[in-house]
């Protein structure tokens, strides 16, 4: 099963951009104009590109992930009710532990910044610490945005309900998309300039560095310019799953436990996001070790991946901006 999960994480990264962020609730707001395709209008699915056995593994793993999420949430709900009766009993530990596990599994789905983290680390040199920074920051902000919205609307404005948070989330999503596009454009500009000017990889902040000329994480720290803005832009979108759990805690009058659970949930989300970032970093470093042995890829063309990554992030941001409810 671990193999299945790793496979799904990887596939979600590769296929992820088709789902830049989580959709808005179909149970709220105006009717969507988009109708589901009729059976004879079947649209192409990325899984169709995979060999049947891998596709079957992915489908089986996805079924497990969905079921686990439902079971964890149900069990956590039971513990939350026990906390209501006995605030400092053993149920609290279980509740927080389940929040962490839920975060890990919940983030296996699309959204939560894995696509951006993966693209970033696949296309530029970076340190391992950068992966932790980006993954941790994105996850923390993703949950924090939900916490702030729920507290703001419920606590301050007394405007309870999914609608208020959903509407605010839509606006934040558009702002986030705009910022992501800007960060992407910045990446394109930097990589494009290095490509055109023929900047030496060893002297370029977006290229290779280190005396050995390898992309190794220790020898090539890279430049983290843009990392924080991208993390901020992606994390700006509130996590509906976190909002639901916090709101549930509020209705049980255990806000403090709900807020604690948010920390554990964010840590769980971060585990998955950081894992994807590290996987991308490892992949890039392995490729770089091979390619850096030739004179050609020591040239300006090493900036091509960074350019492609910047273009991709810009494109995702634009699509998300134009159609935030995709």
């Amino acid at each position: 099963m671990i193999r299945h999960l790793l496979l799904v994480i990887l596939l979600c990264h590769v296929c992820g951009p088709v789902l830049p962020v989580q959709a808005q609730s179909p149970l709220r707001g105006p009717a969507s104009e988009q109708r589901p395709a009729a059976p004879n209008e079947r649209i192409h699915q990325p899984a169709d590109w995979l060999p049947q056995p891998i596709r079957a593994w992915g489908q089986k793993a996805m079924g497990r992930i969905i079921l686990w999420q439902a079971q964890i949430r149900q069990q956590a709900g039971a513990y939350a009710r026990q906390i209501q009766e006995n605030p400092y009993g053993p149920a609290l530990g279980w509740f927080l532990g389940l929040a962490f596990v839920y975060g890990v599994i919940h983030a296996l789905g699309p959204g939560h910044g894995k696509v951006y983290a993966g693209t970033w680390f696949l296309t530029r040199p970076a340190r391992v610490s950068h992966a932790f920074l980006m993954g941790g920051l994105m996850s923390l902000l993703h949950v924090l945005a939900a916490v702030v919205l729920v507290l703001l609307f419920y606590g301050l404005f007394k405007a309870s309900g999914l609608g208020s948070v959903d509407t605010a989330g839509r606006h934040l999503q558009r702002i986030s998309a705009g910022l992501i596009s800007l960060v992407g454009l910045f990446m394109v500009w930097k990589a494009g300039r290095a490509l055109l000017l023929g900047t030496s990889p060893d002297s370029s902040s977006s290229g290779l560095s280190g005396s050995s000329g390898s992309y190794g994480t220790d020898a090539a720290p890279g430049n983290r310019t843009g990392l924080l803005p991208l993390s901020l832009a992606v994390g700006l979108v509130p996590c509906p799953g976190a909002a639901l759990i916090l709101f549930f805690a509020i209705t049980l009058d255990i806000l403090w436990a709900g807020l604690l659970a948010m920390l554990f949930l964010a840590a769980g989300l971060a585990v998955t996001t950081i894992s994807v970032a590290l996987l991308a970093l490892l992949t890039r470093n392995l490729l770089a070790q091979v390619t850096s042995r030739t004179s050609l890829v020591r040239s300006r063309f090493v900036h091509l991946p960074a350019l492609a990554g910047g273009l991709l992030i810009t494109l995702l941001g634009i699509i998300l901006f134009v159609n935030p409810v995709v």
Binding site: C15, V18, L19, P20, V21, Q22, A23, S25, P26, L27, R28, A31, S32, R35, P36, P39, N40, R42, I43, H44, Q45, P46, A47, R55, Q59, M62, Q69, A70, R73, Q74, G77, H106, L108, G109, P110, T119, L122, S160, G161, L162, G163, P240, G241, L244, I245, F247, F248, T251, R284, V290, T291, T294, S295, L296, V297, L304, P305, L311, I319, V326
Partner: protein
């Protein structure tokens, strides 16, 4: 020429990064935030299947949210006005999604266009939507296969369907029905990794 395999690798890496962009034409979906348990009854008349009665039981997290927002008088019972507000704000928009329901007669798609008798109850802390989906499916003298699947392609909700049992009402004596779950891989969603399971009703005159 050591440079050739290296160049190939390098090109492959670039293409790998561009692959997601190529896939961007697919519609976006999201992981489930809301879980829905279901029950269903087939309503039979003299001509065949009059429609289906659906019962959707939401998880307690979403239920808490619904109750907090729409149980205005906080009495744990939803009045007709409160139910109407729930319908308008959380359900009416699903018409464009066919109320998450796909019905097939053999290979023919039967459009789901309306529902009737929408009511909301609270059962053990869970909000339960009940409604009738009129379809008027005429059944001839031969055995016909009807498929019904309930799922959210946007993946915001995960619908647990089909239930273990399917209920019957109306002209039950007039028809012989066998049913079994059946996967419909041609309707796969969420990158093609989630396959809806339908109920296959094999129905013929008794």
């Amino acid at each position: 020429m050591p440079i050739r395999p290296t160049l190939t690798l390098f090109t492959a890496a670039c293409l790998l990064m561009l692959l997601p962009a190529i896939l961007l034409t697919s519609p976006a979906q999201a992981h489930p935030h809301v879980f829905i348990a279901t029950a269903i009854e087939v309503d039979l008349d003299d001509d065949g299947i009059a429609g289906f009665w659906h019962y959707w039981s939401f998880d307690e997290y979403f239920s808490a949210w619904i109750l907090e927002e729409f149980d205005v008088d906080r009495n744990g019972v939803l009045s007709s006005q409160e139910q109407q507000a729930i319908y308008t704000n959380t359900f009416e928009g699903l018409k464009q999604e066919g109320y998450f329901t796909r019905v097939l007669k053999g290979a023919e798609n039967i459009p789901v266009q309306q529902i009737e008798n929408f009511t909301v109850e609270v059962q053990d802390g869970s909000v339960v939507y009940s409604f009738f989906m009129p379809l008027a499916i005429r059944i001839g003298s031969e055995t016909e296969d009807i498929f019904i699947a309930v799922y959210d392609e946007s993946f915001y909700c995960h619908v647990f369907f089909p239930p273990d049992e399917i209920g019957r009402r109306g002209n039950v004596a007039g028809w012989k029905i066998d049913y079994a779950p059946q996967d419909l891989p041609e309707l796969a969603y969420y990158f093609g990794f989630v396959i809806p399971t339908a109920i296959r009703l094999s129905i013929s005159p008794a």
